[in-house]
C-alpha cells in the first residue's frame, strides 16, 4: 500500500463502475438465497374503490408449495405504514381505495408457485364509484391536509396596477419512476426475534421504524441494510417501505427468510408516481412586461393515501414563481384524495409541477401580447435582494448570469434567425425554440430532516471504512464521500471503502432525497475526517517532538514546517494505534441557519438555491406529428463542481428524464381508476434515439456556497426542471405550422398524439 499519492480528482470515476460493467454489483435479487427461503407474491385489489365482501383462500392454501398466506390478521402491531399521516394500512381489511392496494401476501417455496396461487384466490367486492380527478375530489372536500397558501404582497390591490391580466389552466400528468430495478426486499430472522432486512430503499430508517411499528418490536431489533439501488428517483423514498415490512412480517410469522421482488407490471400497478396536478392561474403584467401579480391554485392528485404528498405540495408552493421575481403572489395548494395509488416523491418533488404553471402563464401572456416568452422571462429574472414568496432573501443569485451566459454562448438571435429561415422554406417540418430558466431550493423543506452522520474507521493497516446515511442509487454519492475523505485525510482514494448503508451503524437517518444527500453526509464525513486528522497530527507531533501547529499531512506523508518527514500514513496510523488513540470517529452534521414557520408560511427553509438556463430547439414532422430535439444548450450553476463526470451525468440524465415527462411518458388512468399504461410496452421512457441530438452543458464558474460540500452545489433534482422547456419548444413549433393553435389547457405531456391534434386542430 505504500507510495500512494493523495487524490482529489474532480473527474474521479464512479467507484461502482468497475463492478457495474462486469455485472458483479449486487442488488437485492442477486443476494444468494439462504436455505429455506420463501418467495412472496402480493395479492392486490382489482377495483379502485369499494368494499371486500368475501375472500376465499382455501384453494390457494391447499396448493402444493404454498406455505402460508399472510393477511392483516397476522400483524402483531399496527396495520399502518403511513409516513406523514397514519392513513395507509399495510394490508386492506375491508375498504379498498385504489386498484393495486395490497390485501395479502402469499408465501411459497418458489416464486412461480406464489404467483400462480394468486389466481386461486377469489375475491368478491362491492364496488363504489371511483374519483380520479383532483378537482372533483376538491369540490367534494376530499383533502389529505387543509389547503395551504403562500402570500407575498397583496394581489387583490396589485391587479389594479396591471396593464395586462391573463388567466388560464395548466395540467401536468404523472410520471412513473421506472427505476430499472423493481421494488424488493429480502428479510431473514436472526436470534432472539431480531430481523435483518436487505432492501432497495432510499429510506432505511423509515423502513426500520415502520417495520418496528407493524411487528410491535423496538427499532433496535430490526437491522436494515442497503448496498445500492438500481435506480430510485424518489420512488423508493417512502414506497420501498411496504415491501420491506411485508418481507419482515413473513419472516417473523414463518420464522424463515422471505424474499419479495415485485414484477414490473405489479410494481407499476401498485406503487405511486409523480403527482399529477391540475392548476388554474392568473397573471398580471405592466406595460414594460414586468410581472406584478400572480395567483394560482394547485390541485394535487395525491391518490388514496397521503404518503409524501403533503410535503410535495409544499414544494410546489416554494417553487411557484420559478426563477422570477413577482412582488405580489397568492398561491394556494390543495392535496386531493383520489382513488389511484398514493403518489409520491419524484425528482423535483412537486417543484416541477409548480414551475410548469408559471411557464404556461408566461407563454400564454406572451402570445396574447405578441411578444416572445423569453422577453417576459428575461425581464423578470430574480436578482440579489429580491425576496421569495416564502420570505427568504435572494442571495448569490445566478439567474441573470446563467441567462446571459447562454445568450452569449449560443447567440440566440442567430439561432432564431436560422429557425425563421428554416420555417419559411420548409413545408413539412417546423422548428421551435424555448428557453427555460430554473431556480431550485436545496434542503429538505421539513427543517428537522436536515442532518446526517458519518462513522469513519481507520483500520490499523491504514485502510479506511466509512458508513453514512447516504444511499447509493446511481447518483454517485459514495464516490463523492470517497473524495471528501481522501481530501480531508490527504490519503489515496484507493484506501477508502464505503460500507453499505446500515441502520445499526448510522441510525435515525433521513432518506437519501431532496438533492441534499451529498451535502449532508459529505459534511458529516468531512467533520469526522477532520477530527481524525487533528488527532493523528497530534500523535505525529508527539513522536517528532514538534509543535502540533507545525505538523501537516500532505499526500500521505507527515511534514514539519513544510519539510517531509519519514512518517508515512501507514506509520502514522500504527503510531496512533500503539499509543491507544482512537482511530474511529463519528460526526453529526445539521444544516445551520435554516428555519421555517408553517403558521406564517415564512422563513429561510433553504441552505441555498441552484440556478441555470436551458435553450431547446425542436423539429416537428408536420405530416406525422412526431418530433426530434435538435439541441439543448444549458448553462448551469454547479458551484465549484467536485466531480465533473458525476455532475454532468446528473445533468444529462435529469434533463432527459424531464423531457420524457413533458413528451412521451404518458400515464393513463381510465375513469375507473385503472392504470392503462401499466407496462414498458405501453409506458414509454426515452430510448437512445429519442434524446436530443446534442446536449451542450456549460459549467458556470461560481463560488458555490459554504453549505454545499466543497462548494459543489447539489445536482440531483435541478436538471429535471429544464425538461419543461421541451413542452414550450414543441408548442412553438406547432404554432409555426398552425398559428391558430392555442391549447385550452396547457397539458403535458405533449405526446405525438397531442402534437398531431395541435397541428391540425
Amino acid at each position: 500500500m505504500k507510495k500512494r499519492k493523495a487524490t482529489h480528482i474532480p473527474t474521479m470515476k464512479n467507484i461502482d463502475s468497475h463492478s457495474h460493467v462486469r455485472g458483479e454489483s449486487i442488488y437485492v435479487d442477486d443476494i444468494p438465497e439462504r436455505q429455506g427461503t420463501l418467495h412472496a407474491a402480493v395479492l392486490m385489489a382489482s377495483i379502485a374503490h369499494g368494499k371486500i365482501v368475501s375472500i376465499n383462500y382455501t384453494k390457494a392454501q391447499k396448493k402444493e408449495g404454498v406455505v402460508r398466506i399472510i393477511t392483516s390478521k397476522d400483524i402483531p402491531g399496527e396495520n399502518q405504514i403511513g409516513g406523514i399521516i397514519p392513513d395507509e394500512p399495510l394490508f386492506a381489511i375491508n375498504d379498498i381505495h385504489f386498484q393495486g392496494q395490497p390485501i395479502a401476501l402469499v408465501l411459497a417455496t418458489t416464486e412461480s408457485i406464489a404467483r400462480e396461487a394468486l389466481h386461486d384466490i377469489n375475491i368478491s367486492y362491492k364496488e363504489r364509484p371511483a374519483i380520479v380527478d383532483p378537482i372533483e375530489a376538491f369540490k367534494k372536500g376530499h383533502l389529505h391536509i387543509p389547503s395551504r397558501t403562500f402570500k407575498l404582497g397583496n394581489t387583490t390591490n396589485a391587479w389594479k396596477k396591471c396593464t395586462h391580466i391573463i388567466e388560464g389552466k395548466a395540467d401536468t400528468d404523472g410520471q412513473e419512476h421506472l427505476y430499472l430495478e423493481t421494488q424488493g426486499a429480502y428479510a431473514y430472522p436472526v436470534e432472539n426475534g431480531h430481523i435483518t432486512i436487505t432492501s432497495s430503499t432510499q429510506g432505511p430508517t423509515a423502513l426500520q421504524r415502520t417495520a418496528a411499528k407493524v411487528l410491535d418490536i423496538p427499532m433496535h431489533k430490526i437491522e436494515v441494510d442497503v448496498r445500492r439501488l438500481g435506480g430510485g428517483f424518489g420512488g423508493k423514498e417512502d414506497q420501498a417501505t411496504a415491501w420491506g415490512v411485508m418481507a419482515a412480517l413473513g419472516a417473523t410469522v414463518c420464522k424463515c427468510p422471505v424474499k419479495l421482488i415485485l414484477h414490473r407490471m405489479d410494481d407499476m400497478k401498485m406503487t405511486g408516481k409523480r403527482n399529477p396536478y391540475r392548476s388554474t392561474y392568473k397573471i398580471g403584467l405592466d406595460k414594460q412586461l414586468n410581472i406584478l401579480a400572480y395567483e394560482a391554485d394547485f390541485y394535487q392528485n395525491a391518490g388514496a393515501a397521503a404518503d409524501l404528498s403533503p410535503a410535495i405540495l409544499e414544494r410546489t408552493l416554494f417553487h411557484c414563481n420559478n426563477a422570477y421575481y413577482i412582488p405580489h403572489v397568492t398561491a394556494r395548494a390543495h392535496s386531493c384524495i383520489t382513488n389511484i395509488p398514493p403518489n409520491t416523491a419524484f425528482r423535483g418533488f412537486g417543484g416541477p409541477q409548480g414551475m410548469f404553471v408559471i411557464e404556461a402563464a408566461i407563454a400564454k401572456a406572451a402570445r396574447q401580447l405578441g411578444v416572445k416568452s423569453r422577453d417576459i422571462q428575461k425581464q423578470n429574472l430574480l436578482e440579489n435582494g429580491h425576496v421569495f414568496p416564502y420570505g427568504q432573501k435572494v442571495e448569490e443569485c445566478q439567474a441573470k448570469p446563467t441567462w446571459s451566459a447562454l445568450e452569449k454562448k449560443q447567440s440566440l438571435k442567430k439561432i432564431q434567425n436560422n429557425i425563421d429561415q428554416y420555417n419559411a422554406t420548409e413545408k413539412h417540418y417546423k422548428k421551435g425554440l424555448a428557453l427555460m430558466p430554473i431556480c431550485f431550493g436545496i434542503s429538505f423543506t421539513n427543517t428537522p430532516m436536515n442532518h446526517a452522520r458519518a462513522l469513519v474507521h481507520i483500520y490499523q493497516d491504514g485502510s479506511i471504512g466509512i458508513s453514512t446515511a447516504a444511499v447509493e442509487m446511481g447518483q454517485g454519492v459514495n464516490t463523492k464521500m470517497v473524495q471528501v475523505a481522501a481530501k480531508t485525510l490527504s490519503v489515496d482514494a484507493a484506501r477508502i471503502k464505503i460500507e453499505s448503508t446500515n441502520t445499526t451503524r448510522v441510525a435515525n437517518t433521513s432518506p437519501s432525497a431532496a438533492s441534499s444527500t451529498a451535502d449532508l453526509n459529505g459534511k458529516a464525513v468531512e467533520m469526522a475526517c477532520q477530527a481524525l486528522r487533528t488527532r493523528l497530527l497530534n500523535v505525529a507531533a508527539k513522536s517528532l517532538a514538534a509543535k502540533p501547529a507545525t505538523v501537516t499531512l500532505q499526500e500521505e506523508v507527515v511534514y514539519t514546517n513544510n519539510k517531509k518527514t519519514k512518517i508515512h500514513w501507514e506509520d502514522l496510523v500504527q503510531l496512533a494505534f500503539l499509543a491507544r488513540v482512537s482511530l474511529t470517529e463519528n460526526a453529526h452534521y445539521a444544516t445551520p441557519k435554516i428555519h421555517f414557520d408553517k403558521s406564517k408560511e415564512k422563513g429561510h427553509p433553504f441552505a441555498y438555491h441552484v440556478y441555470g438556463t436551458a435553450a431547446f430547439v425542436v423539429t416537428v414532422d408536420c405530416i406525422r406529428g412526431t418530433y426530434e430535439f435538435d439541441a439543448v444548450d444549458v448553462v448551469h450553476d454547479f458551484g465549484t463542481s467536485m466531480n465533473r463526470i458525476i455532475d454532468l451525468g446528473q445533468m444529462e440524465g435529469g434533463l432527459v428524464q424531464g423531457i420524457g415527462w413533458m413528451t412521451m411518458e404518458e400515464l393513463l388512468y381510465n375513469k375507473d381508476g385503472r392504470l392503462l399504461s401499466n407496462a414498458l410496452s405501453t409506458y414509454k421512457i426515452p430510448d437512445i434515439y429519442s434524446v436530443p441530438k446534442e446536449i451542450n452543458v456549460t459549467f458556470l464558474n461560481t463560488d458555490g456556497n459554504d453549505m454545499a460540500i466543497f462548494r459543489s452545489k447539489a445536482v440531483g433534482e435541478p436538471p429535471l426542471l429544464y425538461g419543461i422547456g421541451a413542452y414550450f419548444a414543441l408548442l412553438d413549433a406547432i404554432q409555426q405550422f398552425n398559428p391558430a393553435f392555442e391549447p385550452e389547457i396547457y397539458h403535458a405531456p405533449l405526446t405525438p398524439e397531442k402534437v398531431l391534434m395541435g397541428l391540425y386542430g
Binding site: 460493467v21 455485472g23 400462480e116 414490473r264 405525438p752
Partner: protein
Amino acid sequence: MVQFILNTQTVQSEEPLGMTVLDFVRYHKHLRGTKIGCREGDCGACTIMVGSLVKGTMQYRSMTSCLMPLANAQGKHIVTIEGFNMEQLNPAQQALVNEGGTQCGFCTVGFIVSMTGYCMENAQATYDEAIAAIDGNICRCTGYKSIERACQQLVKSLQKKPTQKPIEWLVKKKYLPAYFTTIPKRIKTITASQAKPKTNSIAVAGGTDLYVQRPEDMVTAPANHVFNQNKLKTIYAKNGYVYIGAQATATDMLESSIMQTCFPKMDEYMKLVSSTPIRNMGTVAGNFVNASPIGDLTIFFLALNSEIILTLKNKERTILLKDFYKGYKKLSKKPTELIHWIRFKKPSKNHVFNFEKVCKRTHLDIASVNSAAHISTKGKTIKEAHISIGGVGPIPTYLNKTSSFLIDKKLTPALISEAHKILNSEISPISDARGSADYKRLLARQLFFAHFITLFPSTFSLQQLVVESA
C-alpha cells in the same frame, strides 16, 4: 432435454423447455449478472448473446433472455456477461467506465453485452451501427449521452478489426476471452436438433409475443419449438416470386440482399420494427399468427398482396394473407396447421413501396397506426395499388375498397382526397393506450398522405393534400 454451451461450459438440462433462458441462467446457474427489468423484452437488462454455427463460423446475435425459451438454446453458444468478463476490462467495459456511462448499474450489463456483441460483427464498425446495436437497451439514469460517447470510443478502437472472422483478432486484442476461438469446434459436437413436439402443442418460434402475453403458462405448456428450423429461415427468389421462410426473423429480412434489392429502404423500415434483440428473435410467421392488429411485418406484407403457404400433415394450401384474418385474433387456420412460407410477386420497375409507422416513441414501440403502400404506375396513372393499415380495426387491415378505387386513376390531389374518404369508411379505430380514436383516424389520413408525398414528391405536397381534403 436441452444441451448447449453456456459461456465456457457445456450444459445439459432437464428443466422444462419452456423455461426462459433468463430464469435458467439466474436461478439455476446462479449467473446473476443478467438482470430482470421488465420480462417483456422492452428494457434489454437481460440481453445475452446467442451464437450459432453458420457455414463453419460462429454468428452471434443479441437476444432478450426473458422471452427466450430454453428450447431455443439447443446447440447454441449462450454468452452472459460472465462469459465476457476477463481479468481486465474489455474495451467496451473500459469505454463505459471512462465516460461515466454507468450510474445505478442495473441496465449496464445489458449495454455491455450488446456493445461487446457488436464488436463480433463481420463488418467495419461504425458509430451509427454501434448505436443501433444498443437500441434495445433502456437506461433511466444517464440520458444516454455518456453511453454515446463510450460507443464513439469503442468504434474508434475497432477501426483495424478485420471484417471477416474477427474473433481471433478480438481475442488477441482482449475484447473477448480466449475460449471464444474454441467454440466452433466444440459446438459441432452438440446436436442442433430439437425435441419432438408433443401433440396438440402450440407452435413457439422466437417467443417475443407468447412470452409477453402468457409468461407463466408458457413454461410448461406443451410446445412445438420451431425457431431453429433452419430450412424455414431462408429467403430466395423463384419464378417471379420472393419466398420467405416462416422462421426468418426481422433481422434476416433486413439483411437479405433480395429484400434490399426489392425495397431499397428496407433498412429504414425494419429499424422502425422493435429493437435489435427482438428483431433477432421475432419471426415473420410469428408476427402473422399472433394476429395483432398492428403487427408491423403483417402490415408490410399485406401491402405486397402476399400469399402464405400453410402445412398440415404434409398437406399444403396457399391463401392470400389478407384472407387469413377473420376477426380479432381469429385466423383462417387449424390449431396445428403451420405457416411454412410467405411469398409475394417480385416488384417490377414500375412498382414503388412505402412503409409508415407512428408511435409514442419512434423506436422500440408498438405502432399507434402503421401503414404500407405498394403501387405501380404507368405515366401518371395508377395501374396497381395495395394499401394496408394497422391499429384502426380489429385485424391488420388490407384496404380493399381504397386500393381498388385507385386503380386506373390519375395521380392527383383530388384523387387522394377522394380515396381518403373511402379509407375513412374502411377503418374503425378505438381509443386505448396507443391513442384516442380521433387521433388514430387523423393519423391514418396523414400516413395515407405520407405514402403519396414520399412516393411522388413532385406531384404531392402536404399543404395541397390537406387543403384538398378540408
